[in-house]
Subunit: 238 residues, 2 copies
């Protein structure tokens, strides 16, 4: 399922803003590549967490983070003073990767085993968001992406809390999506083998919310809609 | 939820082989860090996909991949000739990150919002596996980790297929785990706020397997145990 970034490859038709660049091009299985803003943002909206890759002292790191989106900008956040956030705020190059796994693809041969998935690789640099209003909007987007309706109920961040939080913006300028769907693709010679073949679909599902022991408040409507089996994130299409 | 790798930090007691290094140390929330082989491998065994971070021409990339484990070695695979696999096979530094999201932690304030999760960051270099027997064992481990019992039913890779597949080994020598569990931790001053607080547990669940249209074989026992709601990967503890 590797999403190869390579210099060359056939140019895909794009329905809208094209996020493709020389290095943001799917080389392996180019037919699985997509570069239009709609496809990229739809996958981003359906991911749960991202990995942010960056370099420190010449070594690569990938760190899981929650994220939010407002228009063509992605936002991540963390504690002020962390080495990660300090590195990222300096404008150094980063890669933000989101993967939605849709199922296991079980072929008749080991070689054709696969997964159905939708992944996005965003390339760019991060910029620190300093303005408190924009910072708050970004934190809101991070929460509301996963739990729509919650932000207005909770206590918003104070000036002091905002000062202790670093928010980074990554503009969506250069990105590729890679998508595999459908049944296994077996070699003709393997079709008669006595082995079951098909897909095992996978979904992220919620269990019923569990109140903390100090809670005295009824489950709000935006959470009571969640019961055992609700697919997450809610934006995900079935 | 960022997993900070930093030079300093309190040393955690370790029950077994210690995978900690100067840079593989959780700085932010050090109480969430763990470095013993048992904790690290248990999380690795329960992940679905990993992101492999590496550098090309001075830029960081993180690419989703499936993976397997045999003892203290992790394995990833891809097509021969891909730029990613060529870069990784050269022994350049990489980072392999696995994240298991256990739930959304909904606090009474924006600042204390969180996730319950278990993540592992493995630092090291990759080495190409050339020997066909070891290569086949690695491919088997990648499949059997997710679908135990399947490998012996399917057609194993031919010499030609093996030659078209690159398998990389990453030895588990330097790694950190970061774990958050439990309810939200709110400020005392927020406890009387009129807002529900608690956790929304999340699980990856399978739907019933879907046979491909050429399939004429009954569902094997290792798949018939999967029905709507089975938690994935199977190794995961409830």
């Amino acid at each position: 399922m590797e999403n190869i970034l390579e210099q060359n490859g056939p140019r895909m038709p794009s329905a809208s803003v094209d996020l493709r660049s020389g290095r943001a091009t799917v080389k392996r299985h180019p037919e699985r590549g997509a570069y239009d803003l709609e496809t990229v943002t739809e996958i981003l909206d359906q991911g749960l967490v991202c990995d942010v890759a960056f370099m420190v002292d010449g070594f690569p790191y990938a760190i899981p983070m929650t994220y939010g989106r407002i228009g063509n900008s992605l936002y991540v956040h963390g504690a002020v003073g962390s080495r990660l956030l300090r590195s990222l705020a300096s404008g150094s190059p980063i890669c933000l990767t989101v993967t939605v796994v849709d199922g296991l693809v079980l072929a008749r041969s080991a070689f054709h085993n696969s997964m159905n998935y939708r992944s996005v690789v965003v390339l760019g640099t991060s910029a620190e968001v300093v303005d408190p209003v924009r910072k708050t909007a970004a934190l809101r987007a991070i929460l509301e992406r996963l739990v729509p309706g919650r932000w207005d109920e909770i206590r918003p961040p104070t000036r002091g809390e905002l000062a202790r939080t670093t928010v980074l913006e990554i503009r969506l300028r250069e990105a590729s999506a890679k998508i595999r769907r459908g049944p296994p693709v077996d070699d003709e010679a393997d079709m008669e083998r006595d082995v079951w073949a098909g897909e095992v679909p996978l979904r992220i599902r919620a269990l019923a919310p569990v109140a903390d022991r100090n809670n005295t408040v009824a489950l709000p409507s935006y959470l009571s809609a969640i019961n055992d089996g609700t697919v997450f994130p809610r934006a995900r299409r079935e």
